[in-house]
Amino acid sequence: MAYVSMGEAHRRITDYLTRFSDAITAQNAASLRRLLAVTSDSHLLLSLADALNIVQDSNRLVKQNEKFGQYGEMLVPLLRALQCYRIGQLVDSYSAFEKFANAFIQEFRNWETAWALEALYVIAYEIRVLAERADRELASSKKTTEKLKGAGSFLMKVFGVLAGKGPKRVGALYITCQLFKIYFKLGTVHLCRSVIRSIETARIFDFEEFPSRDKVTYMYYTGRLEVFNENFPAADQKLSYALSHCIPYHEANLRMILKYLIPVKLSLGILALDSMLENYNLVEYKDIVRALRQGDLRLLRYALQENEDRFLRSGVYLVLEKLELQVYRRLIKKIHVIQKHKDPSKAHQIKLEVIVKAMNWLEIEMDIDEVECIVAMLIYKNLVKGYFAHKSKVLVLSKQDPFPKLNGKPV
């Protein structure tokens, strides 16, 4: 912390207060929001924090001038939040910021136009980030972590303020997305349901009106929820929307979307290209795709195990596991192709022994009874067309279209 004279400190604080009140008077959201980003490393706020440490009674500065005093309810806690943040008292910083945010919302309600939305967005972001950091501080001293939950309650309140007929309603989707982030982090994703219902069924909102950026984020999170619930067609639709509307150079975001879209597509029988996986650094799916292409069950299991933690954490493990069905299908298809080369007239008859041998070669123990049961199941699920003859232990493939295409329906 550089040395700052008392006079200079006073000047900085007064300058900040002036900017704040001017921004509100002029209804200038762009100026205002820069003053609220407590967790950012902006030079303005860093130097302000230094000044606050010198001037012990910044509140007096606020109250002694009517120009700033009228915003005292907001300014006093805001300054405290900033000061606490910079000296590492995160819990106090959060509590003060929450106070500020509540006071801000009171004012926001009274402003007729939606001029302050950009500032509100910053507040929504900051309150979430501060809450996360405050909870970390609480956790390390073994206390109850409740700040993020509190931030969630605050944002629900904000959502209620925005969910009306006026121009402010376009802000609702941004707030929704912040709420999603909170609920995902807290593990209370069931709470997403009520906001989703409000967005999707209430007649107040027209989805197309919302800013594109917010729509992409919204579709990303709702798409992820569909993946958790294994509604693959819905997940495909939402994540694909997010993908196609995402700005192309936001590569990190594209990667996040693809991380969930790829397993969905795989379930629908659509493979991803290696080049794409490499481009977006999603190499954890490479072996899985290869296993699907080659009908290699051992490789699938290996890939699942190698990346078990990662897949479990993102909630796609159970989805990927079920790709086993497609791997069986591919294996039988390959055997069929090989046999066609040797003797086309007999190619459609596959001895179950051959499949057993293939499995053993892949170091997978499977006896002929199990193979027969799997073959019966594949036929029943229409992944393979034909029949099996128990006494001769043979799978007889249909001469026409023995491996029906999956046609985008989940297996």
């Binding site: 073994k142 159970l318 199990e370 099996f388 003859a389």
Partner: protein, 439 residues
């Protein structure tokens, strides 16, 4: 309110509770073989240091009554305020009681129920419906209590709850009364135990042990109640209520595991009890969303040590085999690895899998090569007579081949999934599972 009474937590009657556990042969009191000391039911001196009331992380402020916001932490995500019922239906009371009742049933209640002749069959002294004793009466579950009216003398402290639970579970195998009667009694009285635990916000090792026993009770009841319903659907209201409480107890148990983990304690049986949750998702009856969240999401938040445990891996394998449709390996794995508790949970979907298996074989097999029943029996773990009957329920005919073996003819067009009324057939090799549990 003085909440840290370390001195009065000793059980009143250590000898009686330990002799009760010694003589018990029921599954529920028998701990797993690896347990250090199977008779360690009464609190010993280690309890004093741990503080059986549960050392909450903010215990420094123990003189301040806990507010409700803190207590929310002790609820499993997604478990909404159903738990209010366990606390006696009062949503706003902030304080936790310290119970002092030394009997299984508070004296006031015992005398009142004697007067009103409201005594269960097990509580009657010499069969007299108007007389009971402090050795026989057990506190009933009460849905509508207001926390304001509760006195400490109405609530049983942990050692008494422990003793009460052991007493109840000893009755589980009693053959003097029909199982539904036994179940009904234990069902209600254990619910009251959970209520007392909840009111006092008891956490820690002993609470976990109590909940584990109560979950076991519900799981094994789940299995036994199916056998009782010989006529009509296997899911009677009693069955449904039992499942409801099973899920609630599991939720509370998991909550305790999570809290315990924060206090750096390891729970021996956690893996097995977590695995039971996975089996709840099996079958068309299986709830896709239990307690409001998807299974994938639940798994994503489990600690790696639990996820990679033998019991969890088994459960995940069974789930995969079920969804992929590999019925051969489904039954093979169950026979090889399932514990009795796990089997009781899986049992719900076993007949469904068997029906699917018949559908597959009937659909894909060559008409001129009927499938030998003997082989099917081995795969589906059924007795031949049961399998024949089951085929009939599925609309399939069996016949005899030229060598005299019973076979299933294939490509029958009359297959249909049996609509309800499925009996529980014997599972071949179940005795093996049960034998292993005895040791």
């Amino acid at each position: 309110m003085n909440r840290r009474n370390k001195d009065d937590h000793r059980s009143d009657d250590p000898s009686s509770s330990s002799s009760a556990s010694n003589s018990s042969r029921s599954y529920l009191n028998r701990d797993k073989p690896s347990h250090k000391n199977p008779n360690r039911i009464i609190p010993d001196s280690t309890m004093a240091t741990q503080g059986w009331r549960g050392r909450r992380p903010d215990a420094a402020e123990s003189d301040v009554p806990l507010n409700r916001a803190n207590s929310q932490r002790f609820r499993l995500q997604g478990q909404h305020d159903d738990d209010d019922e366990e606390r006696g239906g009062c949503g706003s009371d902030p304080r936790f009681i310290v119970g002092t009742c030394p009997f299984m049933c508070p004296e006031k209640e015992r005398l009142q129920r004697e007067r009103l002749r409201d005594l269960a069959v097990f509580e009657r002294l010499d069969g007299d419906p108007a007389r009971t004793s402090s050795d026989l009466a057990v506190k009933k579950f009460c849905r509508t209590i207001s926390m304001k009216d509760i006195e400490a003398s109405d609530v049983r402290p942990l050692p008494v709850l422990d003793r009460t639970l052991n007493y109840l579970l000893d009755l589980f195998d009693s053959s003097d009364h029909p199982f539904v009667t036994v179940h009904d009694f234990i069902f209600d009285r254990t619910r009251s135990i959970r209520q007392d635990l909840s009111m006092q916000n008891i956490i820690g090792d002993q609470a976990i042990s109590l909940y584990e026993k109560m979950v076991k009770f519900h799981v094994i009841s789940h299995h036994k109640l199916r056998k009782c319903a010989t006529k009509g659907p296997p899911t009677s209201p009693m069955h449904h209520l039992n499942m409801e409480q099973l899920i609630k107890s599991l939720a509370s148990l998991y909550n305790l595991y999570d809290i315990n983990r924060k206090l750096d304690c390891d729970c021996e049986n956690e893996a097995e009890f977590r695995s039971l949750y996975i089996f709840l998702h099996l079958g068309s009856q299986g709830h896709n969303h239990i307690m409001g969240e998807s299974l994938s999401f639940w798994l994503s938040r489990l600690p790696p040590s639990v996820i990679r445990s033998k019991e969890m891996l088994f459960a995940r394998t069974i789930l995969r085999l079920y969804h992929v449709g590999n019925f051969w390996r489904f039954f093979y794995c169950i026979s090889k690895e399932a514990t009795y508790l796990q089997f009781c949970m899986i049992e719900t979907c076993i007949n469904e899998v068997r029906a699917e298996a018949l559908a597959c074989i009937n659909h894909g097999g060559y008409k001129l090569h009927p499938y030998p029943l003997k082989l099917l029996c081995e795969i589906l773990k059924m007795k031949e007579s049961d399998l024949e009957y089951f085929c009939g329920l599925c609309g399939l005919e069996t016949s005899v081949d030229e060598m005299g073996n019973r076979v299933l003819s294939l490509k029958q067009t009359s297959f249909s999934h049996p609509k309800g009324g499925l009996n529980t057939y014997d599972y071949s090799g179940l005795e093996q599972l049960m034998r292993e549990m005895k040791i």
